[in-house]
């Protein structure tokens, strides 16, 4: 394999973006859609070839500088920089710092290539049906292409600075797509919220990057994560520098993780993701479920050897992830809007991956947590995209986001019903669906690290099964909505159904992929074995119990849910209001920052700074009015004054000389 494929994988989406963005308005909807789908399809095929070659052939890659790099050396998968072009370079006394743009091929980037292009392709296809006849159809496809390009650039980044650049680019494309219906006030507000919150988090990430590169003098991932690389630097320079009780490296890593918290919607920066559901549903499936929001997980995985050096930072990640997972799962049980339920489910699942990364240690099951996290990233992308696309089909059919407008839909929409059920079973972790395998591995890793986190996360997994089946029953069983008599819902067109069916099929079989052979933290293959007695059967029982509970409560219309809610009315209301996080942010931003701090600053600005400037202006104005009579318009008067001035100057000069 040479560098042609990697370049094409990046070049096709950006070319599509430029073509559709610049000339899309001249095209018909069909033309733009076909162009976008073909472009993405080609990228998908190319990514499959790259991933297949990397994982399953024993060959080698020919990099841009002509070197032949074998994929596997001594049974360890290698990290290969296909090309790495120096973009900027600064020389200073301690060395040269370069910002490169390149293509890094390693297990997780190859896996992400597959995930991104697959989901992106199906979303492209699905949007053809879902966005049919919408104004700005071509713009939608152009933005999808931009997003795909940015996300691909992010995962193949060879250095953290390139990652940061593409990190911001996915932020922009997410902003553009959430605000796609820019005439809708709520969509505009949601897009701004998403952009500001993630941008705020990225500030922390930038500071972290700067601290890290200041000490290590490099941005490059391979240099950063290779054994003995930065470790030495930190042991000599970094260990002495302690700030507020933590070493410099801990600070850098935690700050970099802040960026990941923003993108992956960890507490307390999760508030943007539920609102981001204002965007079109395919966008939610692609960006806010499968790809962009896992960027934070990917970031930690990418820098994992560094995080390993500071276990404190990993514990921080574990804590944040565990709290977020529980919080989001509880909130998801009380939401009415089906996309919000799925959004909180996404937050919870990503937090699951974070915890799994946080508990990964080489000495515990040979770094199982890392592998399990990546495995779950893969399976979750598939079944969560499936669930979102299913939700899109439902919304398409009943024209509402709330489950109160649904119920009893199983007869009207069989394809959606069955695929959605598969998605729910997968996320609940029922054998043999894909979620079971990845979740089982994650739970194994957690039990291996500490029983406390293991039980905690098992409870979260149970909650997951409960709220997903609550959603499923409320949509497809419960009580048939009388409104259907006037407007009979029906299954979506083939462009929308086909992705559902394929993703459902993938969700059924993806668990059997020998993932441990492909992706591990250090590149050495790991043989997955399922701990049936210790982990799998208990978690299956918990999931089954949760499903049973959901079946009792929601299968037929009854008053049980209201009674249960009435046991702890305070808890239910708080969860329904997402534990008032938005209100807290509103209070902080509006009451404290805007009204308190900003108004004082505004007063100072208006009265002191502006006042000084106004005074200058007023003095100038007054003086000008006073002396404007000199400009009489008579040239000869000017000459007279000029001549007197010249004479005076000459006199002074003569007096000075003589």
């Amino acid at each position: 394999m040479d560098i042609t494929l990697p370049i094409l994988i990046l070049a096709i989406p950006i070319a599509m973006f430029l073509i559709l963005g610049l000339t899309g308005m001249k095209m018909s909807h069909k033309m733009a859609g076909v162009l976008g789908i073909c472009g993405m399809g080609t990228t998908m095929v190319l990514s499959y070839i790259v991933a297949y070659t990397y994982f399953f052939s024993s060959g080698s890659a020919i990099t841009a500088d002509g070197m032949s790099m074998p994929f596997i050396v001594d049974g360890v998968r290698q990290q290969i920089q296909m090309f790495d072009v120096t973009w900027l370079s600064w020389a200073f006394e301690r060395g040269t710092l370069t910002v490169n743009l390149g293509f890094l091929l390693d297990p997780i980037s190859a896996m992400m290539l597959v995930v991104i292009t697959t989901i992106s392709f199906f979303v492209h296809l699905y949007s053809w049906g879902y966005m049919e006849g919408e104004k700005g159809f071509q713009r939608f496809y152009a933005f999808l292409s931009l997003f795909s390009f940015s996300m691909l650039g992010l995962v193949v980044a060879t250095n953290i600075f390139q990652m940061y650049i593409f990190w911001e680019l996915v932020g922009v494309s997410s902003y553009l797509l959430i605000g796609f219906y820019y005439k809708l006030q709520s969509a505009v507000a949601a897009s701004k919220k998403a952009f500001i919150v993630t941008r705020f988090a990225d500030l922390g990430m930038l500071i972290g990057i700067l601290i890290l590169s200041y000490y290590t003098k490099t941005f490059n991932f391979i240099d950063l994560t290779q054994a003995g690389g930065p470790e030495e630097v930190f042991n000599t320079i970094g260990s002495g520098s302690v700030f507020m009780g933590c070493s410099v490296l801990t600070w850098a890593l935690v700050l970099i993780f802040t960026g990941g918290m923003g993108k992956s919607a960890m507490m307390p920066l999760h508030i943007w993701l539920p609102d981001a559901m204002e965007g079109p549903t395919p966008v939610s499936a692609l960006i806010h479920a499968a790809t962009m929001v896992v960027a934070g997980v990917y970031l930690v995985a990418r820098m994992f050897p560094l995080y390993l050096m500071e276990p404190a930072s990993l514990d921080f990640i574990t804590g944040i992830g565990a709290i977020t997972a529980l919080y989001a799962a509880v909130v998801a049980c009380t939401q009415i809007d089906i996309k919000r339920v799925l959004a909180f489910s996404t937050i919870s699942q990503i937090a699951f991956m974070m915890v799994s990364l946080g508990v990964a240690r080489p000495e515990i099951h040979e770094g199982l947590g890392y592998m399990a996290s990546m495995f779950h990233l893969f399976t979750h992308a598939m079944f969560k995209a499936l669930l979102f696309l299913g939700a899109g089909a439902l919304i398409h059919a009943v024209h509402s986001n709330d489950y109160t407008a649904m119920g009893g839909l199983r007869k009207y929409m069989p394809i959606t019903h069955w695929t959605f059920l598969i998605g729910c079973l997968a996320i609940a972790g029922i054998w043999p669906f894909s979620g079971f395998f990845s979740k089982d591995e994650m739970l194994s890793a957690m039990y291996g690290y500490s029983t406390f986190w293991g039980i905690w996360m098992t409870a979260v997994a149970g909650l997951t099964a409960f709220y997903m089946f609550r959603l499923y029953y409320l949509i497809f069983w419960w009580d048939e909505n009388p409104h259907y008599k006037h407007h009979t819902p029906h299954d979506a067109p083939w462009q929308m159904s086909l992705p559902l069916i394929i993703l459902a099929a993938v969700s059924c079989v993806a668990g059997f992929i020998p993932f441990g052979e492909l992706v591990t933290w250090n590149g050495e293959p790991y043989h997955i074995h399922i701990d049936w007695v210790g982990v799998a059967i208990p978690s299956l029982c918990v999931a089954a119990a949760a499903i049973l509970l959901a079946t009792i409560m929601y299968r037929k219309k009854n008053s049980l849910p209201d009674k249960v809610a009435a046991i702890w009315p305070g808890l239910w209301t708080a969860a329904h209001h997402r534990f008032y996080w938005d209100e807290i942010y509103m209070f902080i931003t509006h009451k404290i920052i805007f009204n308190g701090i900003c108004s004082a600053i505004a007063w100072f600005d208006r009265h002191i700074i502006d006042g000084t400037m106004d005074m200058f202006a007023k003095v100038t104005q007054k003086t000008s009015y006073a002396i404007r009579g000199f400009q009489s318009g008579s040239i000869q008067a000017y000459v007279w004054w000029y001549f007197l001035g010249a004479v005076a100057l000459a006199a002074v000069t003569a007096w000075a000389i003589l």
Binding site: W640, F643, L644, V647, A654
Partner: protein
Amino acid sequence: MESIGNIVLYFVVSLVIIIFSVMAVTTRKILRAATYLLFVLLGTAVFYFQLGYEFLGAVQIAVYAGGILVLFVFSILLTQHPADDSKVLTMHRRFVGILASLLGVALLGYALYTMPFAEGMSLQTALTANDVDMQMIGSKLLSTDKFGYMLPFEAVSVLLLACIIGGIAIARKR
């Protein structure tokens, strides 16, 4: 000792310059002012000849007297009625003008009188120092060496071109 002819010539020309300068700015008929200016310019040309710059004198006559003055006369004839005399000056204006001129004359005269270079050489000795011939002027004007005037020469030629175009653009009928 200067030759007597030169001295007489100097005094005659000085008188002509002084008298016609004063008359050019005091006469009330504008056409006459232009004519008096012609005499002043011619007097200046004679001074150039006397100082040994024959080429410059010729240029002065050709460009100033021949070219510029004709332009003046044209414009006067275009814009003035022959009977239009300018008004008699008010006392205030006359005072202001005379004050300015006298201030200037006093200051410059004082400077001339006190500056050490006033005791320079006589015209006779100065004239023997070198002979300005046409060939030297031509070669210097088009030379690029030190003290060569190629660049100003070209700059002035461009300026004149711009001036021709500008004159046409400004004065043409719309």
